[in-house]
Symmetry: C2
Subunit: 160 residues, 2 copies
């Protein structure tokens, strides 16, 4: 099912371990443990980020937005054609729209987010024609690990 796997010349590489490392780093800073990395067309990490909403007092600083912002700085463009974004959690509507506007080619994510996600439930953002670009989407990648991080984080906050 995964795109690269259909072509034996381009073996599929998962970057979810790197996104998970960003999620764990966010957790260590007291942020909601979500992490993201952006991969260039030639297979290099061009940006990585975890959530920073608390540190920056800024609801827009989700991991995906920060990673896109950093990748755009690195590339010198507001468009990231041919790039892939890996993120541990289903993007919220804000991030899903930004991913589309940045022209990200492929979105890979881990856990589903039925409460706040923007793709599988609620507004199902990529089903609407006024999103003028839509990435290819692959979900459920290392979903258990991604979800476990979030579950542990919220459980520990309820106890403490």
């Amino acid at each position: 099912m995964l795109r690269g796997m259909t072509d034996p010349k381009t073996p599929f590489t998962t970057w979810m371990p790197q996104a998970l490392a960003e999620a764990r780093a966010a957790q260590a800073r007291g942020e909601v443990p979500v992490g993201a990395v952006i991969i260039s067309p030639d297979g290099q990490i061009v940006a990585r980020a975890g959530n920073e909403t608390r540190a920056q007092h800024d609801p827009s600083t989700h991991a995906e937005i920060l990673a896109i912002r950093r990748a755009c700085q690195a590339v010198g463009s507001q468009r990231l054609e041919g790039h892939a974004l890996w993120v541990t959690l289903e993007p919220c509507p804000m991030c899903a729209a930004c991913i589309a506007m940045a022209r990200i080619e492929t979105l890979y994510y881990g856990a589903s987010d039925p409460k706040s996600g923007g793709l599988e439930s609620g507004p199902r953002l990529y089903t609407h024609p006024n999103l003028h670009h839509r990435p290819q989407v692959y979900n459920g990648i290392a979903a258990d690990q991604c979800a476990e991080l979030l579950r542990d984080f919220f459980q520990s906050r309820r106890i403490s």
Copy 2:
């Protein structure tokens, strides 16, 4: 219909002229002419912004996101309870979701955006329960002036 008008003790004040000034300043910088201001509960401007996507190479730097970011810095919180956001154009899904996450109390906007808007058409973001907060929304304020700026901008770009 407008909230303040129902209470004679709190006369309604429009801040669209200030948002339009930000839109014109954006246009002068070669950006899409959209402008926004955020008003505190005591009726002061706490942030103003126009689009900066070209200057910053960043698809997330719409006027609304920048205004929210600046207001959050000014207030020292990622929540803007009791604040109002005025913007010249119907927010896109990214901005509409960020406005909700920032807990903006009231959203006033000018022109509708049937092509890329996130509220009146397409995903109709505030109709979904997984947006956990929704502002009160008033649209069509100085809509002709707001739309004219955008029309002139795109017409001049097609001619030049």
